[in-house]
């Protein structure tokens, strides 16, 4: 069966520091991968999605970037965090031929 792992689960970072969140999907190949962000008490905002290695689509211009170095690995990065980057970051996946999108456990980021 397919599983998705996301880490770290929580982190507190100072303003201006770098960020790296990692997501890995197991049990499938060539999945579609997504990064969403949820500010406190708000909805889910799509940040990036990828349909294959090295193929990244950005939905919202900001100081975040995403990379997909391997088929089932998706990384969210920032060189310098802002206070407004705080939130709940969710990685999600979907089989290429499927419709259902499943979320990972999420990562809580607090920028101080």
């Amino acid at each position: 069966s397919q599983t998705i792992h996301q880490w770290p689960a929580t982190l507190v970072q100072p303003v201006g520091s770098p960020l790296s969140l990692e997501c890995t999907v197991e049990g499938t190949s060539n999945p579609n991968l997504y990064w969403y962000r949820q500010a406190a008490g708000r909805g889910l905002q799509l940040l990036f999605y990828s349909v294959g290695i090295g193929q990244i689509s950005s939905e919202v211009p900001q100081n975040l970037s995403a990379s997909r170095p391997q088929d089932r690995q998706f990384i969210l990065s920032s060189k310098k965090l802002l206070l407004s980057d705080s939130g709940f970051y969710l990685c999600a996946w979907r089989v290429t031929s499927g419709n259902t999108i499943y979320f990972g456990e999420g990562s809580w980021l607090t920028v101080v």
Partner: protein, 110 residues
């Protein structure tokens, strides 16, 4: 453009029914419903594909009217475990990622 959900919040007593609506200004390929508990990731409930289908699971069901670009989630005989925030996600033709509504906070009280 994100779909519009209504109501924003609803409070129920156990055993009561609720309806959550989701509408889009774009032609839709599918509508996806999720429930999120506080501090947790959203959990997939069901997906409705274009064709005007209706689905159900236990006491939770949903409908999708593709002509009106609307979907509704029906919760009958609500249980305490139904509490949480419900999100609809829409996939319009040509896109590969879900766009989510702002959510409906549902609270079921004893």
């Amino acid at each position: 453009q994100q779909p519009v959900q209504s109501p924003q919040a609803v409070i129920l007593r156990e055993g009561e029914d609720a309806v959550i609506n989701c509408s889009s200004s774009k032609a839709l390929y599918s509508v996806h419903w999720y429930r999120q508990k506080h501090g947790e990731a959203p959990i997939f409930l069901m997906i409705l594909l274009k064709g005007g289908e209706q689905k159900g699971h236990d006491k939770i069901s949903a409908s999708f009217n593709e002509k009106k670009q609307q979907s509704s989630l029906y919760l009958t005989a609500s249980q305490l475990s139904y509490s949480g925030t419900y999100f609809c996600g829409t996939l319009d033709t040509g896109r590969r990622a879900l766009t989510f509504g702002s959510g409906t906070r549902l609270q079921v009280q004893p």
